[in-house]
């Protein structure tokens, strides 16, 4: 049964891509106001899980359930999941040539509200959110991610989150490609968005962002499974000992 108090919950998720199972039975329950982190080495299935949750057509969920705020997301397309309040900040955001950041954001906001976004209200919102993320105003008129640096793309992802204000934000490797100043600015932006009514799932290889966006729970993912869950102390231990530490523990448990 669904825990009534969970904002975002998925159970026993299995994901297949290109005929291969890359996520094998992952479950998580996230309450409003919480920040969770999924950590794991490259190739452990973090992005596949994130994309499957968002509804990427190539990432087929062969088993499992997803609920957001009591709504069953499984049968929804990506756009419906977005409008239901789910957001994914991409690890590798794509460029959309010819579509300005401002035009795109306004179109997305309209899709969410189901009506025209008033031009001057929208401009005000965009201006203040861009300022908060230290994004130069010229980016509003630049084509979405077209020729942007890795760090600029990540900022724009967080800008999208701030504007759409989702209930549940999954942030896939948002820290990668950011220098230390940018990391701080982006983290401040994430914390500014976070409140008691929404929740964050940080997906990351490194723990460095967790110094700024403090998780309540940390889950370790390996070979498509969550192998360990606990508090923020896990992240610190991973930083010191690397993923081998968890690997050994898992092997030990399995009696290998």
């Amino acid at each position: 049964m669904t825990d009534k108090k969970a904002l975002f919950e998925f159970k026993d998720i299995h994901v297949r891509v290109e005929g291969k199972e890359v996520v094998s039975g992952v479950s998580l329950s996230i309450k409003a106001g919480e920040t969770h982190a999924i950590m794991g080495p490259n190739g452990s299935g973090k992005s596949s899980l994130s994309n499957a949750l968002m509804g990427h057509p190539a990432y087929e969920i062969t088993r499992g359930e997803i609920y957001l705020d009591g709504n069953n997301l499984l049968e929804m397309r990506a756009d419906e999941r977005s409008r239901a309040g789910l957001f994914l900040a991409f690890q590798y955001p794509l460029a959309i040539p010819g579509v300005t950041v401002a035009n795109f954001l306004r179109t997305a906001l309209q899709a969410h509200r189901g009506k025209e976004a008033d031009m001057s209200d929208f401009r005000k919102l965009l201006k203040s959110e861009m300022k908060a993320l230290s994004i130069d105003e010229v980016f509003a008129t630049r084509y979405l991610n077209d020729g942007f640096s890795g760090g600029e793309k990540k900022r724009i992802e967080i800008l999208q989150m701030a504007i759409l204000n989702p209930k549940m934000a999954v942030l896939d490797e948002t820290d990668s490609g950011l220098d230390i100043d940018a990391l701080k600015t982006v983290s401040t932006g994430i914390n500014r968005y976070h409140n008691d009514a929404n929740a964050i799932l940080l997906v990351t290889h490194y723990q460095r962002m967790l110094n700024y966006v403090k998780p309540d729970f940390v889950h370790v993912m390996m070979s498509g499974k969550i192998v360990k869950s606990g508090g923020p102390e896990i992240a610190l231990k991973l930083e010191d000992l690397g993923y081998e530490w968890v690997e050994e523990e898992v092997n030990h448990r399995a009696g290998v």
């Binding site: 509804g55 990506a78 756009d79 994914l88 794509l94 959309i96 010819g98 579509v99 969410h112 759409l164």
Partner: protein
Amino acid sequence: MSESLDKQKKDLSQLNNDYATKYGFHDPVDYFHRGAKGLSHELVEMISRLKNEPQWMSDIRHRALDVYLSKPMPQWANTKMLSEIDYNDIYYFMKPVGENSTDWNDVPEYIKKTFDRLGIPEAEQKFLGGVTAQYESEVVYHSMKEDLQKQGIIFLGMDDGLREHEDIVKKFFGTVIPMTDNKFAALNTCVWSGGSFIYVPPGIEVKVPLQAYFRINAENMGQFERTLIIADKGSRVHYIEGCTAPVYSTDSLHSAVVEVIALEDAYIRYTTIQNWSHNIFNLVTKRATAYKNATIEWVDGNLGSRLSMKYPCIQLVGEGAKGEILSVAFAGQDQHQDTGAKVIHAAPNTSSRVTSKSISKDNGRASYRGLAKVHKHAVNSKISVECDALLIGKNARSDTYPTMEIDCEQVRVEHEARVSKVAEEQLYYLTSRGLTEDDARLLIVNGFMEPFTKELPLEYAVELNRLIELEMEGSVG
């Protein structure tokens, strides 16, 4: 230029000017009452008589007919589609009385639907649908005309141009595109009617774009319009023709000739948006000559029609001349947009840039046919050509046929051609932000067209985007 003028004078002197006697004189009105289809010297004579033209123009028409008859059909592009035209079943001038207008009931549904969705006023709908022959914004045109006249700017229909400014027309007519250029240029030369005539005096800058739409009538939306634009030394002008709304016509063959001349230091931008109904064959010859340090810009949008063959050309004949051709073509179901660009560098330090965008959807086909030619003495010239094709759907097709003839070593040539599809990943990215798949696809397509759209006056840009939205409706990736 003087060379070609001399040549033309020679050509003319070789004519035996007895067409009128040879083909007799009939009562033109009676002739059109009877309603003759097909082409003949009699018809050409009638046109000249009816228009009360000077003899030299009449001679040009007759000679052009001989050229037309002597030239074979093009054996390239879409020969299969071209063979669908029944040349004997066409009215080459006016239709007989009573057949001049279309019944509103005969205007195809998709056209009416598009009018409604674009919010085109009823009077204008009737005009674009071929039901009425005159569009009411004459008023706008007249007040504009006064302003222009004060500065000595001539902006007239081609027929009036010939009547009121015979000397200028005689000097330039057929100098950029001789009747012998191609079969359809010859056809246009022998039966032309309507089109625009523009002359801008030296040093004058025309502040507002001259829009053909303001003085449009059935004739110059017509089948064989003839346009001649001359910007004298150091002048500047932007001419806009066409509209994004679809134009319905029961005449299936349209063949215009557009000649554009920018004298020293002059600047001409020529913007066209054409959206013919799906039965039209649109075979157009457009060419511009740029003299020393002059600039020519073609901005050319092609939607609709069954087959369009249109390759705007710029001849850079004076040192330092610049040319830019920016075009977009949209080929939907059963349509072939065979379009492209030609740049000819015939003087040193000339530069040109071609940006061609095409979208093919359903079984539509868009071809880019380009020529970049650099003469031996055109040193330090620069050419850049960029072709971008976007395919929507599995059956859409695009081809590129670039030709380079570079006879000069000191020249910089860049050529890039890309074919892309609306990528699944791009669609996913946008849908993950709440856009439906249709909206996402539309946004991507509009983005693809943006380098073109942003060059248009705002009202055209808005309308074009809305039109693309209609065209994209119900399409499957």
